[in-house]
Symmetry: C2
Subunit: 183 residues, 2 copies
């Protein structure tokens, strides 16, 4: 559900051909996300099927134009806050949750490993960010996003470790003895 809106956003600036949309999409995302041309057309077909775009062949070319319904949907998109319910499944989170299920020691191992790997990755990303301080705004924003995301993941890993250690610590009265009991 991201290609759709991206194409609509591009079309809200004026009708374009399918192939142009691929190019525009990639340049808008700073080259971070390439689209297979075929996907553009299949997505456009679906958008047309849903009445969000219409084909305009008034001049010999085949141009896609956004419809009123498309504009409405897009208007909502700008305002909508990306918070699906249920939230998208985050791989790191899932990994730790299932590691805990296998045993807290295992989970702590995984956390340690992930943290060091993530730290390395973050350094790389920061380095890349400094190196490529060319004027490409989009690419910079993508890099920022990746870095911030990695920092957040690291912070979460720390939180996670804290909770695990506290849960294991026999000093503390366990908040609940048998929530995970195997039937």
């Amino acid at each position: 559900m991201a290609v759709r809106e991206g194409l609509l956003a591009l079309l809200s600036d004026g009708a374009r051909q399918g192939h142009q949309l691929k190019t525009a999409f990639e340049s808008t995302t700073g080259g971070a996300w390439n689209l297979n041309v075929g996907q553009v057309y299949t997505t456009l077909d679906r958008l047309e099927r849903d009445g969000l775009v219409a084909v305009d062949t008034s001049d010999g070319n085949k141009r896609y134009a956004i419809t009123t319904a498309g504009r409405e949907l897009l208007g909502g998109w700008w305002e909508a806050i990306p918070a699906e319910d249920p939230p998208p499944r985050d791989e790191l989170l899932l990994k730790i949750l299932f590691a805990i299920e296998r045993g807290p020691e295992h989970a702590l191992d995984v956390i340690t490993h992930q943290r060091s790997a993530l730290t390395r990755l973050l350094q790389d990303r920061r380095r890349a960010l400094r190196a490529r301080s060319d004027g490409d705004l989009a690419a910079s924003l993508v890099a920022d996003s990746l870095a911030v995301r990695a920092e957040a993941d690291l912070r979460w890993l720390d939180l996670c470790e804290g909770r695990l250690l506290r849960a294991d610590d026999p000093n503390r009265p366990a908040t609940d003895g048998g929530s995970r009991g195997p039937r």
Copy 2:
């Protein structure tokens, strides 16, 4: 690619039936992610097709067991750091990138709106986190993750706004005049 590994992780503790896996998956994720039972079976079919699990009917029941290949894949999963290439398309990031394409003013509007909405969401999440300080470790970790994620998004929005304002500011020598020029 998250249900597969989750089921494998559960099976690495011992063979189970399909329906039990649904229950285990949901309890492991603190109820944050429910699975349709049908999906468990289709996923198991695919895992079996790929030789990662095998069906065991030695006792009258139909149990799925992880295979050696499955264990190998799982071993890699624990260590693998969730950093796909290209990175997963982040909706907030996409939204801002396409908003910029429509015009920096528009982008600043969207940023402002997203920030206030996200701030509200974050407060809700924090409140929810405090309220439900029951002993459910998994649910707490999910809530932590959501909160940390929201904080990171807010921080990124600030970064983003900064870059945009700097790019628009005529005092600064624009790093590049025509990278976004409409041909």
